[in-house]
């Protein structure tokens, strides 16, 4: 268990280091997020009240699009030079490899989100700074959900043709409950509503989603990586 966790940390470090050196997916993901943010401003012409009402939805659509780009590279990064085969053949347990990759994708997506959030506030004139810490908690929970499911499906699609097409087809339907929860909580936070009733239920949904899918993915990843 402890060795597995150490392996996971090592793999996360390796992935983060490679990514921060080459910046291949983080640059693409961040600029894509910005483009989508700009596009949304043409799609909707809204008053202030309405803008706050849909702010959570806008934000999480952007984040989930950016997330798909990040997790797509999680396992695909290992394909050149057959690194994936070596990784799977190594004594590291499958769940540790998966956990390490999920953690790396989590931090990468969180960085993209932290870049997009101020831009979003700026473009749409939304005040987010007051509820920043609560938002960060919601972002962390939902981002973990996106990356854990995304990395699992990245492992599923890594060896199949049309990988880039198949990942979103599989990923977004699975993420629906998570996105509903994240959108609900974020909208409530940005609008400055107290955390009770619906918002609290959304938060519980986020935690439940994370717990269920983390457990399921850690348990089943063994079957996926070794085929």
């Amino acid at each position: 268990m402890k060795r597995g966790l150490l392996t996971a940390i090592a793999i996360a470090k390796k992935d983060l280091q490679t990514e921060l050196r080459t910046k291949e997916s983080i640059n693409a993901s961040a600029s894509f997020a910005l483009v989508i943010l700009v596009l949304f401003s043409f799609a909707f012409d809204l008053g202030r009240e309405e803008l706050y009402a849909i702010s959570g939805g806008l934000l999480w659509l952007v984040f989930s699009f950016a997330g798909a780009l990040i997790v797509n590279r999680s396992f695909a990064r290992e394909l050149p030079n057959d690194c994936l085969d070596v990784l799977v053949a190594s004594p590291a347990p499958a769940w540790a490899i998966f956990l390490g990759k999920s953690v790396a994708a989590f931090f990468l997506l969180l960085i993209v989100e932290l870049i997009s959030l101020p831009v979003f506030g700026l473009f749409y004139n939304i005040h987010w700074a007051n509820s920043f810490w609560a938002l960060l908690l919601v972002m962390a929970l939902a981002t973990w959900g996106i990356t854990v499911v995304g990395t699992a499906f990245s492992a599923v699609t890594v060896n199949i043709k049309l990988r880039e097409l198949m990942l979103p087809v599989l990923l977004y339907p699975i993420l629906i409950p998570l996105l509903i929860g994240a959108m609900g909580t974020t909208t409530a936070l940005l609008a400055g509503e107290p955390m009770n009733g619906e918002a609290l239920a959304s938060l519980r949904l986020l935690i439940g989603f994370d717990a269920i899918y983390t457990a399921l993915a850690l348990y089943l990843i063994e079957f996926i990586l070794i085929v």
Binding site: K161, P173, G184, E198, Y213, F223
Partner: protein, 226 residues
């Protein structure tokens, strides 16, 4: 033997379905509020119930495949999911037609409609990804994984769309509370049975095709190796 079973099942299904449709269309009176359109319920709800049955079977067989690595279970899973997805589509389409007639809109983002649509999309993903994977063991394993994930999502989607103060336009739970008129109950139950029989026959046919397909594939591989 198996072909005989399929024929018998199909004939039985046809008889039950047609006789039930006859009762529904000629034996039952129009409903007091809705008129004739209510008859859609004898297809609409049984389709949904049967879809759930077949998805549950696919969950069990997907887990069995991961445990035993027997391709038979993979074939059962894909057959059940294909038939189940078709049933969900039938459920959505009939519901939409009924909604247009009764509510005046084709779609309402109502609680059950949304969850059923998500269910359709999840399993559609399964069916789309499957043909993209060439290697049989890989295809079966990854499919089983997707099937388990898809099934785990359904209770969550249900919970999620319940969050913002329930918007449901669906009639209340008529079955559990027993508010369905007594004369509707028998055709309703037989409707469930009829669709179950038809779909079981379809699953068996698909299973047959899957087995044949696997044999052809293995023969082809053998040929290539010579």
């Amino acid at each position: 033997m198996r072909e005989k079973a399929i024929y018998i099942l199909a004939i039985l299904a046809a008889v039950v379905m047609i006789s039930n449709l006859k009762t529904v269309f000629t034996g039952l009176p129009d409903e007091a509020m809705q008129g004739a359109i209510y008859r859609i319920i004898f297809i609409h709800v049984p389709a949904a119930i049967n879809a759930d049955i077949f998805f549950t079977i696919s969950l069990v067989t997907s887990i069995l495949f991961l445990m035993k690595k027997n391709f038979f279970w993979d074939s059962v899973s894909v057959s059940c999911i294909e038939v189940g997805t078709m049933l969900v589509l039938l459920n959505l389409v009939t519901g939409s037609i009924w909604g247009r007639n009764q509510w005046g809109v084709w779609w309402a983002w109502d609680l059950r409609m949304t969850s059923q649509l998500m269910c359709f999309l999840l399993y559609l993903g399964y069916l789309l990804v499957r043909p993209a994977i060439a290697e049989p063991t890989q295809r079966a394993t990854l499919s089983a994984f997707i099937a388990i994930f898809a099934y785990a999502d359904i209770p969550l989607v249900l919970m999620a769309i319940r969050l913002p103060n329930v918007r449901t336009q669906h009639p209340g739970p008529v079955l559990e509370t027993g508010t369905m008129a007594a004369e509707f109950r028998a055709p309703f139950a037989i409707g469930i049975l009829a669709i179950f029989l038809i779909c079981s026959a379809l699953v068996l046919i698909r299973l047959h095709q899957e087995t044949a397909q696997r044999e052809i594939d293995s023969l082809r591989r053998e040929l290539h190796s010579v």
